[in-house]
Symmetry: C2
Subunit: 402 residues, 2 copies
């Protein structure tokens, strides 16, 4: 928190000696990440999304360093950050490729200079398949997942018509019922169908155990992930036994990266949230204790206290349009304060036993509740070091859920 | 639901007789609402946000017709739709002005041609106050709310420096603790401070009882709203007794419009959701029964079924980045199906007793969970009649929470 905003108000606006307040239209940024006029984070119009650059870079280094001692690489999921600029940093830190959740997200990544892009959901309709073929004609490392025979046929016909070879993975169902085909005969039959297809190349297995990422307690999570992934390891063995080249086995996320990277056959990890962390992931617990501290928080929302109708609470300008509502955000650096959503435009801070006084006009940093859907609410990241804004990066894939 | 998407896939893409699939870059729309190439709603890339134009217009007409028989006007809240095009339609249907939640939203409305704009949250920081003065120099009907003495002083100094007169309302606290000043002496003292300010004009009272909008059961809601608004009616009387001109009294929303419009002294209603309705508002109950049917649903998300790992459920491409997570969406026109969020990118439909078969590749319309925060996830509305897309309107204020 920057204290004494009242002083700021009276120095900035109505005296000539004040700080120049820059409106959003004056922020100079291009489509790529571009250095802007240096200015304090406390001058950013709120609510705003901020990246602590050094903390994020420590997370990048930590993941690289950890995985370099295993057989697995990183195939980071860009659905988290939706930023080609960040995806390129991940590639610089040794990623083997990136993931995208949807076709429109993959389009943003390819346009932003990424080449090796795995789309992690089945693409089944004519319009989307056509868009995938347009991507595949620009990069030979666009990779799809399939979980049904009909889709193999549709993709092959489209690839043939477009004159491209398409890299295809089997999406394996792991106990839950979101997407994926069953292991054993259904998966092996799907592999044969891919193998028979003139314009499809079999690339490997995707086995994403979504709910397992959030199992609380490291030991419980380890047990759950090992159990969930056993069919994927088995399928990989069957495939190699059938004479195929070693397929990739792409699994996991931020909650299980260290567990999964140690498993036989796993070639890459689809982590995303490790960059930023959030209240949700902090709470799943780590090897060492109740908080998951393998990575550190690097993403915040800056908000302003705008009203105090009664002592004991204070109202800020960030609500359900500034934070994903599935979890509650937490204040950075101030304890004894609890956030509640107060509609879409506001939050109320209950001042139970605040470690610092909070006044109307103060700006506050909050650790975000759930990173992926919160980021998807913002047009830009303000990237800072110390208290200085260094760059503004567009959330180029914001809203690209198609 | 449009049935037999499998047929569509095989007719559209790989035969020359197929429908032409138009990519999003080919959709012709300008910054204003512009007629696009007519095409079927079933060809829109999913997930997408759709307005049933005729249903929305019936809601516009119904609100106008209802209020014309009362003493209250409509001051619709644009935080719901974030579209100057829709705000102008509301003005055409007799609105007395519009509301905006934040400065950046008001900027979008003014740029879009609206003139009478009430910003419904206190504006307390130097940067935002400066932006308000820029708005006030373009329209003499920019109206702010205040809930503290210091803010009156700050606004007056800024208005003086900018050479504008600013229209100001007292934001009254109504039992809950989000924003607002207490009735009685605190409010009257605030009025006197406004009255003493060289560049502020007192315009009236804002008394928004947010939680009351969602009280279930019409009679309970009526009782709650009448109780909540009593201090606002009392304050208005005191103000007039003190010799001031009759102030406006701006209250209510979609849940209480008919209750509040009948109350003595109420001059305008800040409804927003009445345009679209949502599952949340349907459930609050109406005069006639368990569902609130004063207005009809006119807003939908179009989604595609993309995977069916097991019988009994099917996975669609719309999750927490396509619907606000605070409530569950519901299928339009199909019963016996229950939606669950399956992460940010997907939903799972449990096929308990579906009234129509749903196959992978099918496109489905879903009634949205909660309109305001869901709309804020999308860049555009697809406006349709029958099954034909008539126009694409930008959600110009999307993300404008500053």
């Amino acid at each position: 928190m920057k204290p004494s905003r009242r002083k700021f108000i009276h120095s900035a606006l109505w005296t000539t000696a004040g700080i120049s307040v820059i409106g959003p239209s004056q922020i100079a940024w291009s489509k790529a990440n571009t250095v802007i006029k240096a200015r304090s984070i406390w001058d950013i119009p709120t609510p705003a999304l901020l990246i602590d650059r050094e903390a994020m870079e420590r997370n990048l280094r930590k993941m690289k360093s950890f995985l370099s001692a295993t057989n697995a690489g990183l195939r980071p999921h860009t659905k988290t950050h939706k930023s080609p600029a960040i995806a390129k940093m991940q590639m610089d830190y040794g990623a083997v490729g990136v993931c995208a959740a949807k076709v429109s997200e993959a389009e943003v990544m390819l346009a932003g200079g990424l080449q090796d892009i795995l789309i992690t959901s089945p693409i089944v309709t004519a319009d989307k398949i056509k868009r995938v073929m347009a991507l595949a004609s620009q990069s030979d490392r666009i990779r799809l997942v399939v979980d049904r025979q009909e889709n193999v046929r549709d993709l092959n016909e489209a690839a043939k018509a477009a004159g491209v070879d398409l890299s295809v993975m089997i999406d394996l169902r792991l106990g839950w019922i979101r997407t994926g085909i069953d292991h054993g005969k259904p998966a092996m039959d799907l592999l044969k169908a891919i193998d028979r297809s003139s314009n499809l190349r079999f690339y490997g297995i995707q086995a994403y155990a979504g709910p397992v990422q959030h199992v609380r307690g490291f030991d419980h999570r380890k047990e759950a992930s090992e159990k969930a992934l056993a069919p994927a390891q088995q399928l990989k063995k069957e495939i190699m036994k059938a004479g195929y080249q070693e397929p990739i086995l792409s699994v996991g996320g931020t909650g299980t990266y260290s567990i999964d990277a140690a498993l036989e056959g796993v070639t890459d990890i689809q982590a995303g949230s490790y960059l930023f962390m959030d209240v949700d992931y902090l709470m799943i617990g780590g090897k060492a204790g109740a908080l998951y501290t393998d990575f550190e928080p690097s993403l915040y929302v800056l908000s302003t206290a705008i009203s105090q109708p009664q002592p004991g609470s204070i109202t800020i300008d960030a609500g359900g349009k500034s934070f994903s509502k599935d979890k509650k955000p937490q204040l950075k650096d101030i304890t004894g304060v609890e956030y509640s959503f107060a509609g879409d435009e506001h939050g109320i801070l209950k001042l139970t036993d605040p470690s610092k006084e909070i006044l109307v006009g103060d700006k506050l940093l909050l650790l975000i509740s759930h990173c992926d859907p919160t980021i998807n609410l913002y047009d830009n990241y303000h990237v800072y070091a110390g208290e200085e804004v260094q760059e503004v990066w567009p959330v180029a894939g914001r809203g690209k859920s198609q």
